[in-house]
């Protein structure tokens, strides 16, 4: 249990997908102008992550890895399909995003419109694929995978909402014209990353 809590805290703060790995920067920078949309996108990312990473875990462990197919026939034990991991992971993520899109269009049309192209683009959000690949690389068990994906998603959610908060506060700042928009968002991200460095030495 303690191990799982540590894993969660680590994924949210210490190894934050944004501030420690710089994954998923495109939607992080683009959809952080308003807290409300950032909040919506953050939730969508959490949802997709929690849905897809465990799914990918099953795909990896019961279809792709060497010896994973023994449940069909023992003679398949030597088959290694790990090279298909990328493409299958992305397919699963794309499917999950479709699901989110359909649900959101039906129930939250205003958020659906304000997220615009960035909702389908969650499909290629590096942080989601990254989480699946971390799961593969670090050889997590199923429960660990579930907790890790929730932590990773929460980390992204936290980062994007924080950035949106700061950008809303800076709305009336007199930012030099060439830096307005993306430029200042990148500088803010760097400064936020500096503040998040405070977690970097904690050993759990």
């Amino acid at each position: 249990m303690e191990n799982l809590i540590n894993l969660f805290i680590k994924a949210v703060f210490i190894e934050n997908v944004i501030f420690a790995f710089f994954l998923g920067m495109c939607s992080f920078l683009a959809v952080s102008k308003k807290i409300k949309t950032a909040f919506g996108l953050g939730l969508a990312v959490i949802f997709v992550m929690v849905l897809t990473t465990p799914l990918n875990y099953f795909i990896l462990n019961y279809m792709l890895q060497e010896g994973a197919l023994t449940w069909i026939h023992p003679s398949l034990a030597s088959v290694d399909l790990t090279f298909l991991a990328f493409i299958l992971f992305i397919a699963v993520i794309a499917g999950a995003v479709q699901l989110v899109e359909m649900v959101m269009e039906k129930s939250l049309p205003s958020l659906y419109i304000s997220l615009g192209i960035f909702l389908p683009l969650i499909t290629v959000n590096c942080s989601i694929l990254g989480t699946s690949l971390f799961m593969q690389e670090r050889e997590y068990g199923f429960v660990e995978t579930a907790v890790f994906s929730l932590g990773s998603g929460t980390g992204f959610f936290l980062a994007i909402v924080l950035l949106a908060g700061i950008r809303e506060r800076l709305q009336y700042s007199n930012i030099p014209a060439p830096l307005q928009g993306l430029g200042i968002a990148m500088i803010i991200t760097a400064l936020m990353g500096m503040a998040f460095l405070s977690f970097s030495g904690i050993k759990l």
Partner: protein
């Protein structure tokens, strides 16, 4: 004074519209308003007729910083002569520190104001007084042995990336002085940690005493808190540390000035202490009983006295620009700073001092705290209506 007035008046046409140095008008204007109260109002920003303007606010903070500065100068000398086992008079201690600290202050002001002047001239806006405080805070949170070029570099970094890029004073979201320190801390760790807290320039005819140790009280944290200096030493400030952070007593004088004048928020200061003590007591409760030297056993009130907590809570966390703006938000903001400081000190061996980073982190969280508080207010008001 009349001579100065005449000199300024005779120079004035050159800096006005169509004058030879029209481009340098903001620089001239800043100097003139610094010397004399202007007869006209400012051209941008908020206009409120009050005896309390930005200049006076900033000046109050500078006055509140003077006790820590003076004590810091004395302590620099005291620590220096103590390391060599020499007994010298109060004045000698002070003068030694004075000659060590003054260059840092001057470099910080000169470079930082230089950047501000440059930006004001380039952008054609008026120079604001925000840097008066930042420029004094930077030397106070640095070790005395810091090379001057690093002071200059950090001053440039914090005015440029911490402030001017967001549009100047009042527009930034992080405390510029802390940003300067964090920048040095991550860029030049060798100059910001280790045996750097005492000026060890050689004294002819004297060798370092055997008992000398370059470690601050924070270093004993992970080993055994009982090795720290006495509580009274920590309170009065007879310990090693950054120039201005050691004396809780001097900081309390500053806190009194800030609170009495209404410049610093007493809510944030109180909340910081509450969060710190609360988290300290909580960790005392759950500390492993079988390891008596575990840092979790450190008495909660020690956290108030060691390191730069007092300095950070009084002068840094209360920065009205980067702190939470709502009243309820100030409490949350302060409590989180205090609690997080203890967590970093106890659990993060990489950074023995958690104050700097926890305030910076809460600067990042402040806008969202404000947002949540405001949303909550809207909700309750709607319900009442």
């Amino acid at each position: 004074m009349k001579i100065v007035r005449n000199a300024v008046d005779s120079l004035k046409p050159h800096f006005g519209k169509g004058g030879r140095f029209e481009k340098l008008h903001p620089a001239f204007d800043a100097l003139e308003t610094f010397l004399f109260v202007p007869g006209h109002t400012t051209e941008n920003g908020v206009h409120i007729r009050d005896a309390m303007d930005l200049k006076r606010t900033m000046f109050t903070v500078v006055v509140a910083l003077i006790p820590t500065l003076l004590f810091g100068m004395w302590n620099v000398g005291y620590q220096h002569y103590r390391a060599y086992g020499m007994e010298v008079s109060l004045l000698e201690n002070f003068m030694f520190g004075f000659w060590r600290v003054m260059p840092i202050v001057i470099v910080s002001y000169a470079v930082g104001l230089g950047v501000e002047f440059l930006f004001a001239v380039l952008k054609g806006h008026q120079i604001s007084e925000g840097y008066l405080v930042t420029g004094l805070l930077i030397p106070l949170i640095l070790p005395v042995t810091i090379p001057l070029w690093m002071v200059a570099l950090s001053a440039i970094f914090c005015t440029l990336l911490g402030k001017e890029i967001f549009g100047g004073t009042g527009m930034n979201f992080m405390n510029p002085a802390l940003l300067a320190r964090a920048f040095l801390f991550f860029a030049f760790p060798a100059y910001m940690t280790g045996d750097i807290w005492t000026d060890l320039s050689p004294e002819p005819g004297h060798a370092l005493v055997d008992a000398y140790s370059g470690a601050t009280n924070l270093v004993y944290f992970d080993e055994n808190y009982r090795q720290m200096t006495t509580v009274s030493d920590m309170f009065w400030g007879f310990e090693q540390g950054s120039i201005g952070e050691t004396s809780v007593f001097a900081i309390l004088i500053g806190a009194f000035i800030l609170i009495a004048s209404g410049v610093g928020s007493w809510k944030i200061i109180t909340a910081c202490c509450v969060g710190l003590l609360g988290m300290g007591l909580f960790l005392n409760l759950i500390a492993p009983a079988d390891i008596p030297t575990h840092p979790m056993h450190t008495p909660a009130y020690y956290h108030l006295l060691i390191g730069s907590f007092a300095f950070g809570a009084v002068y840094m966390a209360t920065d009205p620009v980067s702190a939470a703006h709502t009243e309820a938000g100030k409490w949350i903001y302060g409590i989180l700073i205090g609690a997080f400081t203890v967590i970093l000190r106890v659990f993060n061996p990489a950074y023995p001092e958690g104050v700097m980073l926890s305030i910076l982190l809460m600067n990042v969280f402040a806008p969202i705290i404000d947002h949540l508080v405001v949303e909550r207010h809207i909700k309750t008001r709607l319900k009442r209506a």
